[in-house]
Amino acid sequence: SQQGEEDPQALSIQEGENATMNCSYKTSINNLQWYRQNSGRGLVHLILIRSNEREKHSGRLRVTLDTSKKSSSLLITASRAADTASYFCATVWNNDMRFGAGTRLTVKP
C-alpha cells in the first residue's frame, strides 16, 4: 500500500515561478526521498533527507522535513518548462520503501 500522500495532485505555474509540493505520511521513517518521473516511465532520484535532518538543498531544489507533523515539502525555485513532470515522495522505514501517488507539475513557458 502507498505511504506518502502528495499535495496538490496537480500544479500549474508559469516559468520562473516557484513550485511547492507537499508530502504527508502516517508512520515512522528512516528517510524520505523525492523522485521525478517524465512521460510515465522510469523515475529519477532527486534528493534524500534523513529523519534527523530538517532541510536539504540540491541546486534549485529545497526539501524540508518535519517529523513532528509527519510532512515534507519540495520547493523548486525559478522553475523551467523542463521541470514539467510528476513528482513523488517515498518513505523508507526499516527495509521497506513506499511511494505516494505523486504531484503532476506543469510549467508553462
Binding site: 523515475l43 534523513r50 523508507v92 527495509n95 511511494f99
Partner: protein, 116 residues
Amino acid sequence: GAGVSQSPSNKVTEKGKDVELRCDPISGHTALYWYRQRLGQGLEFLIYFQGNSAPDKSGLPSDRFSAERTGESVSTLTIQRTQQEDSAVYLCASSLTSGSFSYEQYFGPGTRLTVT
C-alpha cells in the same frame, strides 16, 4: 555504467494469456523492487527482494502475480491469465543497501503491458 534494464519495453497480449517481464538490476544491488503504475496514477508496490531473504509479497494484487529472483541478479515478474485491468507500466528498481539510511532507488524504463 549500465543502469537497470527491463524487457520487453512494450508487450501487447490477449486476455487470458500469461506474460513474463524481466528486470536486470544494477550489478551489486541487493534490493530489487517491482511496481505497477496505471495510466495517470502513482506507483503501486508489488514485491520486494532483499538479498537471500524471503521476498515481501504483500503488494501482489492476486495469486495470478508471482515473481522470482535468482540470487542478486535477474528478476522475472509473471502474470498468469492476464486481465484487462492488468494493463499498466511495470517498473523495476534496484538499490544498494548499506545500512538503514541509504535507499536511493534506480529505476528501469519500465515495461508497458497492454491486455486486449
